[in-house]
Symmetry: C2
Subunit: 158 residues, 2 copies
């Protein structure tokens, strides 16, 4: 019952693999941790800590939001999870193996996953002119998606 496709080589590809890694690092395989991981491996990326908490609480109602935050932090230290900021508002979390940038629409809030290759031009320019090596994954690039641009173009012609 796993969505264990499209994951990067070397990264743990299932809940139990991650829990083994957790144990190896001196951690424990607790119930909340297991359920949280199930939710992270399940369909649908870009979930906030609060959304994950609600999903976990459907199975184990007593799991507290602070436990979610602590587990996400731990999983992030282990390299299993990353968070990204898609605009104003809470951070979103996803498996580190699903690696991509984010484009976030300022008008409708929609988020597009952008293949990292999209950033090659910027990476090259920043590297050669400023010596700066970008990491386009952690913060979204804002802008306007195709649908909103179309709508706004029409509205603007008044």
């Amino acid at each position: 019952m796993g969505v264990e496709s499209h994951l990067v080589a070397g990264a743990p590809s299932g809940v139990e693999e991650v829990l083994a890694r957790v144990r190896k690092a001196g951690g424990r395989a607790t119930t909340s941790r297991r359920i949280l991981l199930e939710r992270l491996f399940a369909e649908g990326s870009h979930k906030t800590a609060e959304e994950l908490a609600h999903e976990v609480q459907r199975v184990a109602p007593d799991v507290h939001l602070s436990t979610i935050y602590r587990n996400l932090e731990e999983l992030e230290r282990l390299g299993v999870v990353t968070h990204a900021h898609l605009g104003h508002g809470p951070a979103t979390y996803h498996l580190a193996a699903e690696t991509h940038g984010h484009l976030s629409c300022e008008s409708c809030g929609a988020t597009l996953e952008a293949p990292l290759g999209l950033f090659d031009g910027l990476a090259e320019a920043a590297r050669t002119t400023l010596g700066f090596e970008i990491d386009p994954r952690h913060f979204a690039v804002l802008g306007h998606c195709a649908a909103c641009r179309a709508r706004e173009a029409v509205a603007g012609e008044v």
Copy 2:
């Protein structure tokens, strides 16, 4: 006593011009607003609301942080000011006329102003492959600056 150079055409280039615009929009030219504008037109970009409050309070100690926020919001609606998020932590405010992107170092926190042209490659790629029109000004692109890369490269060769 104005740093009224390098400003984009059409934008108000001094405190009194902005206040005239404020009045035209039904607002009032209050003392706090004038002092805040003086600080925004002064040297040094990327100031947080709290930093601006401290600067204003050196002249008018009773000006409250909430007044700063309300004035920044108003000035932003008028198109005089913009804010940008350079990483975690508070937003920074600057004159909308000073238009550039931001590259922010995850290691040392330094922020580089990036000419918008640096983003042309990404803009082109996002537009043609996804129909997405980026606006690179509002959120910084994170990464690692030249100095930190050099330091980390050495540390990594253990």
